[in-house]
Symmetry: C2
Subunit: 233 residues, 2 copies
DNA sequence: GTGATGAATAAGTCTGACTTTTTGTCTCCG
DNA sequence: CGGAGACAAAAAGTCAGACTTATTCATCAC
């Protein structure tokens, strides 16, 4: 998706990564490099590189004389964008989407508050543009266009917070929003109240009203959580 | 630290990782696999495995005919525990500690609120034990003992939240707390008010009072932020 | 039962040859 | 003078095979 097929080892990961993150191998399962190399029809060198990557994600552990053992889910680097993508594409997309939405509900309000303090004039303008784009596409089944502006809106907020840890969650939030639109909920036009909230957040940030930006964003994320609760209480 | 010297490629990473994350190579710098292999006196295979790991952390990008180029900081996987450790050990430990503390201030209050709803009896007991341990070591320059219980306390909260994304931040929070004790601030005994707050959080979680647990934890993290502000306003 | 010995195993490492892609350059023609 | 195409060089990518090393397990002596 992001950097597709960048070499043979990438192709191996495209298959093996989703398999592991989908839980197809129970924790403690043992894979052998040689067998994997045979299965994917690559040399051992290539296979070893792939294993190293999985190892750096804490998905597996490679030990002498025993093989490549799959680690329990609780040890995975669940913030690795690649791992997130694999899991969102796989079986536990629903619980994954849920835990990420909870994460959003913690991060985004604080980020919005900081954005109100630190956003540049340019970022404020961009934010308003996004909000306007959302309004313009909020009716008439223009979900895709709406989504584009929604993703951009939240990304600007996270960037404008001035905190690199928040900023790096832009991709994750975008995937969550996209997932929501494309699969789970939102069969019809977005909630008008949510659209209004986005406009108000843009306004609060521009006005430098941190407390208000935070509170409004909290309402947005609470709404997102409620959407999930309705679907799977 | 976590898994020391797990092979030659690990040793290479122990040197190269900190160098890159310390910004010793400006973004766009080009490294050549062969030269690196010579420098570290390892074979190309080993060097290639190390590069693959750096690549999976988005620290570098490997392209044919051009070499291994260092990516800008804005693209790094800053949530990778290994990257966090490298950065905390290096030059920008101060700003890193700051952005992580801001992250804490967003995550932990929400986590505490969830913990109040989901914590098991066992977790409640553990939490109280930690709080008591903090009280017992809050006076008389027993900073190390205090730290152990402090780290455990916050880890239990994050675990008890029931959200895997929060739970996986336990290590990060622990590193932040350890960094604070060992380097930046806290030359004397911890703030008595903070100790009291921890006891109260444990109590609120046990009582199932989510709102109170959240608010008290917010006060704790605000205090942590203020400590940093005093040091570098 | 306990401890030492040894053999089997699978990852780890190295080397050298070969392939493939990309980029820069040089030429040739308009 | 400028653009298109051909060519050459450079660096990563790939592979195969031989060898090393650590770990585990089983056997055997005490």
């Amino acid at each position: 998706m992001s950097t597709p097929g960048r070499g043979l080892h990438g192709h191996v990961l495209d298959t093996l990564g989703p398999e592991i993150t989908a839980g197809e191998y129970p924790p403690g399962s043992v894979l052998r490099t040689d067998e994997l190399a045979q299965r994917f029809d690559v040399s051992r060198s290539v296979m070893r590189e792939a294993v190293r990557v999985l190892e750096s994600m804490h998905l597996v552990e490679s030990r002498r004389r025993v093989g490549v053992t799959v680690r329990p889910k609780s040890e995975w680097n669940v913030y690795d964008p690649q791992v997130i993508r694999w899991r969102l594409a796989g079986k536990d997309r629903a619980p994954q989407l849920r835990s990420l939405t909870v994460l959003r509900s913690a991060i985004e309000p604080v980020a919005a508050g900081l954005a109100a303090r630190h956003a540049t004039a340019e970022q404020c303008a961009e934010l308003t543009q996004c909000a306007l784009g959302m309004v313009a596409n909020s009716r008439g089944h223009k979900l895709e266009e709406y989504l584009v502006h929604d993703m951009a809106f939240h990304r600007v907020i996270l960037d404008a917070s001035g905190n690199e840890m928040f900023a790096r969650l832009g991709d994750v939030v975008a995937e969550v929003l996209a997932g929501r639109t494309h699969h789970d909920v939102m069969f019809e036009d977005p909630d008008p109240a949510a659209v209004t909230l986005h406009v108000q957040v843009a306004e609060a940030v521009r006005a430098g009203d941190a407390a208000r930006a935070e509170e409004l964003t909290r309402e947005i994320t609470v709404g997102a959580l409620q959407e999930l609760d309705i679907l799977a209480p």
